[in-house]
Amino acid sequence: MQHTPLNAQHRALKARLVDFAGWEMPLNYGSQIEEHHAVRRAAGMFDVSHMLIVDLRGEAVRPFLRRLLANDVAKLQTTGRALYGCMLHEGGGVIDDLIVYFLHEDWFRLVVNAGCAERDLAWIETQRDALAPGVQIRPRRDLAMIAVQGPQAGPKLWQAMPGTQALTQPLKPFAAVTVGDMFIARTGYTGEDGFEVMLPARAAPYFWQALLEAGVQPCGLGARDTLRLEAGLNLMGQDMDERVTPYESGLAWTVDLTDPARDFIGREALLRLPRSRQLTGLILLDRGVLRTKQKVHTAHGEGEVTSGGFSPTLAASIALARLPAQVAAGDEVEVEVRQQRLKARVVKPPFVRHGQPLVQVHTLPST
């Protein structure tokens, strides 16, 4: 099992540790629900060092990325700007979702999922060899990454590291800045304000400790999952994979067709394939809990829950589900939950943003 540079910190905090994609990671440090609420109401921090940072350098890196990614890095024109998008195969299926940062005209940075990291690297290398042999690919396992998230993320970050305030306070969402040997981005995976801090592995324990002393709640993968689900953010490998396109995964907004001359990998397939399914939200009306892989019955055919769980903010069960394209927000559907059919309503994600519920919860009276 691989360990992040913060493994000793997790053990000292008595985290419940689990295997996540070959990494020993904290599931929670006690109560997952309390960790969730800390991020919605104050500030929490996550060790996300298992994600892989990949630096791409060389003169041809921008045209290479315009071919590699379904979103268009032509939008990245100022240092530190970031873009979310998918890397597709020729058939239009999702290899991984990632964030790409623009540092210099000859230096872009990708952050990819831990579970896909090795396969991503192999894919990127193969494409590089064919399209842009001059581009250097450098995985940055020498860096750690800590996400500080929540309405108090900024003040807590600046309390822990006063030297960062001047440069990070003005950052807009999806912008980043280099501060000494740290790279700090106003990004996250929770639906709250916050920062993701990439820094040398040896410095990570000191930064973690400073955040802890500033009162930031350590949060595990459990809270990370319920927070991202409430925020309507996809989990790679669960809400999407190589068998589905971004159009069937709620990610049409990340497919940039503006430049007709840009022939990104997967483009031809995306334009050709029918869009018979959609990824949408569900809120359970009956009592119970929606779970991944439960079958959904709709007036237009069957679908499946891709991520289900309990929303601590709404105190109701919510899900992302892949349903026939004809299903519309407001429709009522039935979900197979342990040999019963429970009623759920289709809603457009996100469910929660910046601490506020965005959907109405009307649970049916129990029978």
Partner: protein
Amino acid sequence: MNIPPDLRYTKTHEWVRLETDGTVSVGITDHAQDLLGDMVFVENPTVGRQLRQNEECAVVESVKAASDVYAPVAGEVVAVNDELESAPERLNQDPYGSWMFRLRPDDPAALDGLLDAAAYRALIEAEGH
């Protein structure tokens, strides 16, 4: 791990307490709630239902997963703890104070076949927690 000496236990992590009126209260152990994590949903059997021993009769769902609860002995459900419906977290906060349902056992002697505290402790130690 808290394992009160005056209760009986099952291999499926229920605790059983014999009440003075001859009924038995059933809940889930401290070990079970610790493994499952924060509870978010409880579904109890209906009062009057006749249960066979080891029959699936209730469900607890945590943030992590759904888990069946089994009847420790055969008997009729005489009461359920409705408070857990709106406050499932009570199972985490006070697992032995939060009974889920009460049974009137068909055979009061059936309790003797359940694990005592020492045997239950040995079981969870053997499972490697």
